[in-house]
């Protein structure tokens, strides 16, 4: 068991012929992930690392029962690519593309919600389930085992890079991960931490979750509320980065676009207080994740 992606994932990659997408396809195949098809308009008949390319997702779906699509197209075409995935009733859409206009993101995310499609991203580095050797996106690069080994800890991160670093801390503590989800650093994303925690709650494989939070948004506060209402009952270990941002003039952005403190809202100190009140484990230092995990996992 895992969340979002597992051995039953039937994967298509939209924009597969791009430079980064073809490299990622190569790494994913080498890891053991099965990628059924790719989509790039005008390039049907070609193949990328042996994966057949189709002009439309509809044509790819005629040959394979695609249930997961990874969007790798440039920002100007991302809106249409996501709408194409929703139109073809793909239940899980993972959007890697960065710098998509906000207006486009709101429109496709609202449409996906109505169609009951789950969206991860935009601006996600990917999702990985090591036990099933499934990885989507650049996550783990050419050496996924360095950070991602199978185990019972879930990872949720607003930062792509810190998804790997969190999983590596889990490994250093002597454990492994069930599924790691890079949810994306944008203001408007399909699967905020609360939603992903709901999935981890249902997953018997996951015994605890490590979460990387940042300034801005209400995501961490929503998580605290969710835990108080018993939506998530397993141990949650959280680290909130960017505490120095509170000392900077308001409205200044460091890191991701969403990590902005506005009108006194989105402060890391408030997020940590809310999570503490909900009885989460707060890692004061990032290094503290290791001893906390060791304590939590051996209980």
């Amino acid at each position: 068991m895992a969340i979002l992606v597992d051995k039953d994932s039937k994967i298509a990659i939209q924009g597969i012929t791009g430079r980064e997408a073809s490299m990622v396809t190569k790494h994913a195949l080498a890891y053991g992930t099965k990628i059924m098809a790719g989509v790039t308009p005008g390039k049907e008949g070609q193949s990328v690392e042996g994966v057949p390319v189709y002009d439309t997702l509809k044509r790819a779906c005629q040959g394979f029962e695609i249930n997961t699509s990874v969007v790798y197209v440039p920002p100007a075409f991302a809106y249409d690519a996501v709408m194409e995935a929703i139109g073809n009733e793909i239940p899980l859409i993972i959007i890697i593309t960065e710098r998509i206009p906000q207006q486009d993101a709101i429109k496709f995310l609202s449409t996906a919600r109505r169609a009951n499609c789950t969206v991860v991203g935009p601006n996600s580095v990917g999702v990985i389930t090591p036990e099933d050797k499934v990885k989507l996106g650049a996550i783990g690069g050419d050496n996924p085992e360095r950070c991602f080994v199978p185990g019972n800890v879930g990872v949720i991160s607003r930062s792509g890079g810190m998804t790997a670093e969190c999983a590596w801390m889990v490994k250093r503590a002597g454990f492994g991960v069930s599924t790691c989800v890079s949810i994306g650093g944008d203001t408007f994303i399909g699967s905020p931490p609360r939603e992903v925690l709901g999935m981890f709650e249902e997953d018997p494989k996951t015994k605890a979750v490590v979460m990387w939070g940042e300034p801005g948004t209400k995501y961490e506060e929503d998580v605290a509320e969710f835990i108080k209402k018993k939506g998530f009952t397993k141990p949650l270990i959280a680290y909130i980065g960017g505490r120095f941002v509170e000392e900077m003039p308001e409205g200044t952005v460091f890191g991701h676009a969403a990590s902005m403190i506005e009108g006194g809202k989105g402060k890391p100190s408030n997020k940590m207080a809310a999570l503490r009140e909900a009885r989460c484990y707060i890692a004061e230092k990032f290094n503290d994740i290791i001893p906390i995990l060791q304590k939590v996992m051996t209980k």
Binding site: I139, M162, R172
Partner: protein, 407 residues
Amino acid sequence: MARVLENVGKELLRENGVPTPDFLVASNSEEARSAAEKIGCPVVIKALVTAGKRGKAGAVKFAEDPDEAAKIAEEILGMTVRNFPVDRLLVEKRLDISQELYVSITYDSSEMAPIIIASSAGGIDIEEIAQAQPEKILKYHVNMLKGFDLYEAKEIWSDLGVRGSALQKATTILWRLYKLFVKYDGTIVEINPLAVTASGEVVAAAILMGVDDDALYRQPYLSDQVEAGSDRAWRPLTALEKEMIEVDKAEAYRGTARYTEMEGGNIGFFCGGGGGSLLSYDALLRFGGKPANYTEFGGNPPEAKVRGLVKGVLSKPGVKGFYMNLNITNNTQTDIVAKGIIGAFQELGIDPRKFPAVLRLAGVHDAEARKLCTEAGLEYHGDDITMEDAARIIVDKMKNAYPEEAD
């Protein structure tokens, strides 16, 4: 977000059918005098800067005649409004206002929808209205898939008690403002006040507007008028920050970077990832380090870009150490990053053996990165240490190298 200056915002309003007072831009007192003559007094003179709350800063004043306009222009042109020096002014017709309304359109991230905030008590900060007269504020979420219809705008003003011809006019204006917000990929459009004049006209007396940086590619008109990322600093960009934007732009599609200058400090900060840089900075402060700047980079930058960025980081006066901390990379090639850093040290003639420096650089091709750095004399760490460990190492090095600078 990129901030739009008021003259540009007002031109957009007029083009899109929203009335504004007549205005002209002036760069000195003589231009202000002749602007006042052309427009006809009384006039309002405003600092033309992207900083908000100009009125409170004393950068919005009235003039009864052209001489007074020239005198006031002189005063405001010497001012600095929230760190932004005033080099231009907006001179506009002073309205005879009978009622001040307020309206803004922005995105509500928790509802994932545009939100319209309107009030029948405009003219002051919306925060103040919310405190003093919360009953005079109305919030309305727009269904972006459906769009915003005229009747919805009418209901908003009607519920706020606006009546008669003002209701009709304010309705059309709000409907057009929403269209403008969408058309120009706005992130905020705020009209305060939306003035009802003594003669019954409804006029947008002031506009505050921001647009989505990531949509500038499809806004050719605006992309020439605004500075991308202009909201990311609390003051105008410094010369070095502007240079670093050019370094980043030179190869726009490979690797992204952003450079921000901090006050004082002695550690050149070149750290990776949106999240990784936050952690690196927090850790540095916790251990007592003094960062001189903040550079975050990611997305597999080419060697020349890394070299250019690191040269910038090291060239800020007062920088006496170098701290590079990166989360274990998913796709960024660490050997390329290492080559760029080594190249920057060489070009600047800095001997890494005599200059406190630490790199924590693990991930794709890191065996090669380790080899290159070790040969060059740079202290290299891969995934043998954590990111926080790397912060402690540079802080200790700085304390040993410059004991007189330690607190």
